[in-house]
Amino acid sequence: MLDDFVAWLATTPGSIALHESLYMYAIVETTHVVAITLFVGTIAMIDLRVLGLALSRVPVSQVLRRLLPWTVLGFLILMVTGALLFYAIPERTFHSIWFRAKMLLLVLAGLNAWRFHRAFGVSPGGWDLGPAPARARLSALASLALWIGVIFFGRFIAYNWFDCDKPQPAFISAVSACRSFTP
C-alpha cells in the first residue's frame, strides 16, 4: 500500500517539476543542510551543557528555555524541506537503505528527547547548575550520537552504493524492499 502511494507520488506534476527543476531542488536541499546548524547546533549545545562540557556556568533551565524555540524553528524548516526532498524523488528515497536507517534513528532520537522532557521538563530543579544525574547525561550522550548518525545517513542517501537498480546482497535488498521497486 505504501508502495502504491510512493509510486503515485512520483507521478504527480509537483514531484516531477521539483525533480526536473534547474534550481529549486538545489535551493531546497541547501536550506535543508543549512538548517542543520540551527537544529542540531542548538541540540548539541543543550546536550553538551547537560554533560557539563559547554556553557557550564549557565543554568540548564536557561539553556533549555532560551534555545529550544530555535531548535523547534530548525525542526520545522527541516521537516518541510525534508518532505519536499522526498517528494522530488519518492521511489528511490523510499527504497534507500540510508533513508530507512535515518528514519529509524530519527524516531529513536525523538523518543529519547521525549523521555528527557517527560522526566525533567525545562526546569531540571536540583541540578540546574550542578552535575546532571546519570540518566540525563546518558540521554544527552544518546542524543548527540543519534543526531550525528542522522547527519551521516542523510548525507549518504545521495550515494547510490546500495540502490535497488543494481545487484545487492540479500540483506540490503530485503531491508530496502527492492522487490517492490522496479526503477
Partner: protein, 156 residues
C-alpha cells in the same frame, strides 16, 4: 607557478588520488564536515544570538562566549581539516567555481570578524546595544553565506 598549475599539482598528489578513487572516503569526510557544521553553527549561534539581544540574555556576553569558545574552535579545526581534504581531492574543479570563490571570501571575512572586532567587543563585555547587534547579525550573515555557498559547490 600560477593558481591553476597549483591546483593540478595538488590533484596529482597521492592523498588527492586516494580520496578521489575511494568509494567511501569522500562521503565519510563530507559527513564529518557536516557534523562539524552543526557544532560550529550551534557554538557560533548562541554567541551571535546573545550579541543580538536574544537567547541566553540572563548571562553576560562574555560568559556565553566563554562557555562556547572551546566548541567553536574545535569545530572550526574539524571543518578546516575535513574541508581541506575535500578540496584537495578535487582542486582543479574548485579552481573556477564561483560558489567556492564566494565561500572562501565570506569565510575569510567571517574569521576576520570573529578574531578581531567581535573578539574585542566581547572582551569589553557590553550589555547590548546596536553595535553588538550589528556585529552579531553580520557574523550570522557571513557564516550563513559560507554554509550556503559551501553546499552550492556540490551543485555547480
Amino acid at each position: 607557478m600560477n593558481l591553476y598549475a597549483l591546483c593540478e599539482a595538488i590533484e596529482a598528489t597521492a592523498l588527492s588520488a586516494a580520496i578521489r578513487e575511494s568509494l567511501w572516503l569522500f562521503p565519510v569526510i563530507e559527513a564529518v564536515h557536516l557534523v562539524g557544521l552543526a557544532i560550529l553553527g550551534g557554538s557560533l549561534f548562541v554567541v551571535d544570538l546573545r550579541l543580538m539581544g536574544a537567547g541566553l540574555t540572563r548571562q553576560s556576553i562574555a560568559e556565553v562566549e566563554r562557555g562556547a569558545r572551546g566548541w567553536f574552535l574545535g569545530a572550526l579545526a574539524l571543518m578546516v581539516s575535513t574541508g581541506a581534504l575535500l578540496g584537495v581531492s578535487e582542486a582543479v574543479k574548485l579552481y573556477d567555481r564561483p560558489a567556492f570563490f564566494l565561500k572562501m571570501i565570506t569565510l575569510t571575512l567571517g574569521l576576520l570578524l570573529a578574531f578581531t572586532v567581535r573578539r574585542a567587543l566581547i572582551a569589553r563585555n557590553p550589555r547590548g546595544g546596536s553595535f553588538a547587534f550589528s556585529v552579531g547579525a553580520l557574523s550570522v550573515l557571513l557564516w550563513l553565506t559560507t554554509a550556503v555557498a559551501g553546499r552550492w559547490v556540490g551543485f555547480s
